[in-house]
Every structure is written in C-alpha cells, then in structure tokens.
Symmetry: C2
Subunit: 147 residues, 2 copies
DNA sequence: CAATCTGTAACCAATATAGTTCCAAATTAA
DNA sequence: TTAATTTGGAACTATATTGGTTACAGATTG
C-alpha cells in the first residue's frame, strides 16, 4: 500500500453514478463494483460531496446522487478534490543551508516539479467523466464482438 | 512518509557531483549537504550506479564520480532510474468483472493515466542536471545581491 | 415502529520510508 | 605490513499511510 488509490476509486464511483442519474445509489452497491467495503466508499463519497460532485440522502431508499453533468467533470478536478498531493516530495529534513546546493535546491526543484505537475494536470483536464463512460461502453462492445 | 524522496535526493546528489568532477566525492560529504545519513545516500548512489550515472571507488580517498556530462542527464532519465512508479495507482482488489464498469475500468483508466504520466515525463525531459546547476548558481547570485 | 442508509469514530494489519548500527571487503598511504 | 578510510549491504527500528473492519448514532422511508 505505498500510494493511495483514492483517485482511481473516485473516478470509478463517478463513472458508475454517471450510468444512472435517476435513483440514489448506495455505498453498498458501489462497493460491490469496486470490490471493497462500503465504509471506504463512503469516505471517498464524503470528499466528493465536500467538493460538490455528489449529494447524499439518508435513510431507507437513500444513497448518493450526482450533482454535475458527467461532461462537466474534468479528471483534473477530481484529482484535486482527492488531495492526492504532488508526485514529487521534497527532502524530509531541510538540506544544509551552509552548502550552496543545499541552500538553493528546494527553490530550484520546486519550480521544475511544479511545471511537470502542471503538464500532468493539463493533460488530465482534457478528459471528462463522460469521456471515460464512453470508453467503458466501447470496451464492452469490443468485448462482445469477441465472445 | 507517504511518498519517497528518492527522486529529489537523487537530483540533489547529481547536482552536487556536477559541481566537482575531479576528485571522488564521499557519501559522508553528500549526506552533509542533504542533511541525512550516509547509508541512505549510498543506497541511492547504488541505484544511480546501476543505471550508469556514477561509479564508485572503494577504500581510502575513494568515493563517487559522475560518469556522464551533466548536460546529458535529463530529469526524466533520473526519475526512471529511481523507479518511483506511476503517480497513479489502480485498485488494490480487482474490480467486479460482473459489473460493466468494473470489467472495463482498468483498461480505460490505464490509457488515460499513461497519457498523463507521459505528459509529465515529457516535461521533465526538457531539463538536465546542468540546467539545475545553473539555476542553483543563479539563485545564489540573487541571494548575494540581497544580503 | 421496523428497516434502511448515511456519517463517522475507533481500531487493526500490512506496507513503505528512511534513520541507525554494524561489519566485511577493498584501497590507499605510511 | 599495518592503520585508516571508504564502499556495499545486512539487519533492525520508528513512523506514517493505506484501507479493511466493526460499531453505532441519526435521518428517512413505508
């Protein structure tokens, strides 16, 4: 368990909910598709709710509903909401300020890393949950043609 | 300690070694700049050695030497050598194959994630260790002008 | 009122990171 | 030859994160 799967599972959840916008979807049902437990799913749904992607409905016949149109949810937005953090991590200890390199490296790397991370986000911003759902449909069609 | 600092420290090491290509540099000295212990540094140097970036010399007056020109070491190459893995992680458990979404999602996300990761690598490939060293020099000059 | 579902707390097992101590082997220099 | 230095790596530890699990209060439905 080195890196979080939150982002992946959050996208899984959103794609699922994009298939059926009518009735509330329960965390139990979603957990069945993701193959995990409902509490983990509810934790992620809570984050998605905080960021306005979904809303919840308590009680019997309750569950979760999508608040936004799937084609209005960019993958970069979801990544931000999940707070996965940067793919780059600075030193655990502050480098030696008495060394010319140690003194400046975090500033220098910070710039380079920020640019690379932005390149990644810009790419993620090109796709939406609606695009993913369409790809899922296409993959299933292709599969049917084989079997 | 959620994510490894290997890549950051590896770049720190390479910048340091790019400042002085003559005499071998010890893991002890490098650890002093990074502000950590020599064993951790040697572990990273071992990986850099495996990938042909540096070579080692045992015994007294020994240490480490850079094998490549700093302007021939792209940041993407270093990232690959450190095996940090993808910023994206798939489900821990295989999603439910009986669900149309669960059945296809890893294929779909795999494509999207690969493209985003490539965008990040392409950006990292634009900079070399020589570029970083130059930025370090510039930052130090700017600092001197202030104080 | 019973059943269902959210929302969250509490606890746990597994894993990764990196800090630390230690020592054999290689190399240099005296 | 001997002492000092340095790599290379094993072994152990503290800490943090992840996600699996149980439990339960509160809201809602019928």
């Amino acid at each position: 368990m080195n890196v979080s799967t939150r982002y992946t599972v959050a996208l899984h959840i959103l794609i699922l909910m994009a298939t059926d916008k009518g009735t509330p979807m329960t965390s139990e049902f979603i957990a069945g598709s993701v193959n995990t437990n409902p509490v983990f799913i509810r934790r992620l749904l809570g984050r998605l709710k905080d960021h306005g992607f979904v809303e919840s409905q308590s009680g019997a016949r309750g569950g979760w509903l999508l608040c936004k149109s799937p084609d209005a949810i960019r993958l970069s937005d979801v990544r931000l909401a999940m707070e996965e953090g940067s793919p780059f991590t600075m030193h655990t200890q502050q480098p030696n300020p008495a060394c010319p390199v140690g003194r400046s490296i975090q500033g220098v790397l910070g710039n380079v890393f920020a640019r690379a991370e932005r390149a990644m986000y810009d790419d993620l911003a090109k796709s939406t949950v609606a695009d993913l759902l369409e790809s899922v449909y296409k993959q299933n069609e292709a599969r049917q043609n084989v079997f």
